[in-house]
């Protein structure tokens, strides 16, 4: 419809163009008006459906349910709810290169279909949830990793920097070359929290250790969905003698873990889910030292349960190290020998003796 005017243009010769310009403008505005009246007719999709209880609507960030990491943690929470509370779960996935409009539509569709709660996994959903939550005041929304002030939104915030601090302690204790690395998926504020905590943990444990920090993409969400890039970055670090690498990059992390597995004696630190236990990473699990886990699954399950019980959790809810909102996994038993150090660091953070900064020092 936008193009109608080009078709309607009179065939003009160059020299009479000036006289024709008003006509041209008229043709364009007429076509535009036509297009606009056309859009105003017909029923809207919001009128078409009647709400009914459908279950839980889960909207994933890029990478999708099987990203072995962040989305998967949320999915686990929903799966648990499915089993224990007998609710239906619908899951939708974000693509690369999404716009605000796509996210809004995904949430709107879920709320419209009658799903309750509707959970946006990932901070990208912040703005869209703020908007859509207003349009569906009777639906409870969950938002992982971002704060939204609204009556019907449960903002789940995790202290990634505190968990990463412990990972830093573990890395510093385990390195033999005194070189450790950090790979971030996208250089944004959230991943910088991981970087900051990790760097502080390494430094507080042993200031001599050299930390290399790298990001896959400066500001493109593709960084969470590009294992090949992470693999290259990890290889580069390993070649320079780095022997413990902490990768906070969603699905891309799998690539880094694969590269680390190929080098003897090198350790990977995983993120978001216990990556040692991930079926998709089974062949590399002997290289996974530990994982910094955000208990997204617990938070998601709690939200679903609260909605089922008729008393939805809302507001901004912080899941800190102190209350086990973030933790270090011990599967594989690779960090058993340094557990005392980690427990000590954990106590210091919990008591407030050590303050972990959420922003990296430049």
């Amino acid at each position: 419809m936008t193009a109608a005017p080009a078709e309607a243009l009179p065939r003009v010769e160059g020299d009479v163009l000036l006289r024709r310009v008003p006509k041209l403008a008229a043709a364009i505005s007429a076509a535009a008006a036509l297009a606009l009246t056309a859009t105003a007719c017909g029923e809207s999709s919001t009128e078409a459906n009647k709400d009914e209880e459908k279950g839980v609507g889960l909207a994933f960030d890029v990478g999708g349910r099987d990203d072995h990491s962040f989305n998967e943690a949320a999915a686990r929470g929903a799966d648990k709810a499915k089993k224990k509370l007998d609710v239906n779960v619908e899951m939708l996935t974000a693509g690369n290169n999404e716009t605000e409009a796509d996210r809004e539509q995904r949430l709107t569709s879920l709320a419209q279909e009658g799903y309750n709660p509707v959970i946006g996994v990932g901070f990208s959903y912040g703005k869209s949830i703020e908007k859509v939550a207003k349009e569906f005041p009777d639906t409870t929304f969950g938002l992982v990793d971002e704060r939204v002030k609204a009556k019907n939104v449960d903002s789940m915030i995790f202290s990634e920097h505190e968990g990463s601090y412990l990972a830093g302690v573990a890395a510093a204790k385990k390195t033999k070359s005194d070189k450790v690395g950090f790979i971030g998926g996208v250089n944004n504020a959230l991943i910088q929290k991981f970087e900051a905590g990790f760097a502080q943990g390494v430094k507080d444990t042993d200031p001599k250790i050299k930390l290399t920090r790298q990001y896959l993409y400066p500001n493109n969400d593709k960084g969470f969905n590009d294992p090949a890039a992470a693999k290259e970055k990890a290889k580069g670090m390993l070649d320079r003698g780095v022997d413990v690498i902490y990768t906070a990059a969603g699905q891309s992390g799998a690539g880094s873990i694969e590269a680390i597995n190929a080098k003897k004696g090198a350790w990977a630190i995983g993120v978001d889910s216990d990556q040692y236990k991930q079926p998709g990473l089974k062949e590399y699990k002997e290289s996974i030292l530990t994982s910094v886990v955000k208990n997204v699954d617990v938070a998601v399950f709690e939200l679903i349960k609260s909605v089922e019980d008729g008393d939805p959790i809302t507001g901004i809810n912080e899941y800190t190290l102190k209350e086990d909102g973030v933790r270090l996994t011990t599967s594989g038993g690779f960090i058993d020998d340094i557990m005392p150090d980690i427990e000590k660091a954990k106590k210091k953070i919990a008591s407030g003796e050590v303050k972990v900064s959420p922003t990296p020092k430049k």
Binding site: L24, T39, S44, S109, F123, D221
Partner: protein, 371 residues
């Protein structure tokens, strides 16, 4: 002559028809292969896509797509592959957002300033590739792709707290542009249509006019058809390359504007990426034609809109992306097939005519051939 025109028309209709039929057939087979009902899929798409709020959504989305397709098409028309529209529009939108966030002029001044900054930055960024091509002979395909990464890194550098951005939750973004420079909307129900549609239509009209009705457009198409022939007839190919890269970049500068002025009001980590690549597909699909690309953009908007609905209805989430790929391939192949068929047909007809002529006028073979 009249008969030939009729043939031409038939061929012109045959290509898109063939493409549509092939695309529908192939996607139906794919949906069948995934164990679902293709008819149900189309029904869901048509039903959901024709809802009034879907119409608005589709139009709004296609505005950005259309501008991107235009930017790509300007290069395509003279055989320049500007793969860098993606980087050009992002860096253009970024600096436009920085300027827009720093100024507080009245809206009627500030909006043009923001748009002009975007077009200028886009033009400069594309101009680098153009300049390298004409002075050093570097392929624009290589330079524009590399400039995409450079643009991304440059934005990433500046888009940090304490540089040109502020922190808002987990997102870094440039300061918001003042309310006075929000673009107008058409108050349609249930949702308003972005007023930027007017600009998109105007740019489309200018594109059509300049290419088809001006000396410059003729030169540009001439270079596109045959560089050496154009050069021989006095067209400065180098100048044309540089100019069209700059124009393509300026048009690319507009791509981010509907989002910046009508939706996000800042440039942040969440600013859409990758639209420049969508533009390439749409320019191919729309055959670089002002109207064709508009249909292509609307089609893409429709597929985007209905894709997630299909997912809710239980279809595989990838199905819409597959459809998009199939459509682009079908169109490209169908046009090529029809073009070849047309060429052969023309050759046969000309051959037959010549044979008839030389048979009727056997004494003057040479004249018959040269006619």
């Amino acid at each position: 002559m009249k008969k030939l025109d009729k043939n031409k028309l038939a061929l012109a209709i045959a290509a898109p028809l063939l493409a549509v039929v092939a695309a529908v057939l192939i996607t139906s087979l794919i949906i069948l292969a995934t164990g679902d009902d293709p008819l149900l899929a189309y029904q869901v798409m048509l039903e959901f896509g024709s809802k009034s709020d879907s119409q608005v959504w589709i139009i709004d989305k296609s505005i950005t797509y259309y501008l991107s397709a235009l930017a790509v098409a300007i290069g395509f028309r003279m055989n320049l592959f500007n793969i860098g529209v993606d980087g050009q529009y992002r860096i253009a939108a970024f600096f436009a957002a920085v300027v827009g966030g720093a100024l507080t002029l009245p809206g009627f001044l500030q909006i043009p300033v923001i748009i002009l900054v975007a077009m200028t930055v886009g033009a400069l960024w594309a101009g680098i590739a153009g300049l390298l091509k004409v002075t050093r002979g570097v392929s624009e395909v290589i330079t524009t792709i590399m400039l995409n990464f450079t643009a991304g890194s440059l934005i990433g550098y500046f888009l940090q707290e304490g540089r040109l951005a502020e922190k808002d939750g987990n997102i870094f973004h440039t300061p918001n542009i003042p309310e006075s420079s929000h673009f107008f909307t058409f108050p349609t129900t249930p949702d308003p249509v972005d007023g930027f549609i007017v600009i998109a239509v105007l740019v489309g009209a200018v594109y059509w006019f300049v290419l088809n009705r001006t000396r410059f457009g003729f030169d540009l198409r001439a270079v596109g058809s045959s560089q050496s022939a154009a050069e021989a007839s006095g067209v400065s190919v180098k100048r044309m390359v540089l100019t069209s890269m700059v124009l393509s970049g300026a048009a690319a500068g507009l791509v981010g504007m509907p989002t910046l002025l009508g939706d996000s009001y800042n440039y942040g980590n969440d600013f859409p990426t990758g639209i420049g690549f969508t533009g390439i597909a749409l320019a191919l699909l729309g055959r670089n034609h002002a109207v064709g690309m508009a249909f292509a953009a609307l089609l893409w908007g429709f597929l985007d809109r209905t894709g997630s609905q299909l997912e809710i209805e239980g279809f595989a989430q990838e199905i819409v992306e597959v459809m998009k790929g199939v459509i682009v391939l079908s169109v490209v192949i169908a046009y090529e097939l029809v073009r070849r068929y047309g060429l052969r047909k023309q050759q046969r007809e000309v051959g037959a005519e010549l044979a008839a002529q030389s048979a009727g006028d056997g004494t003057n073979d040479k004249a018959g051939v040269s006619a």
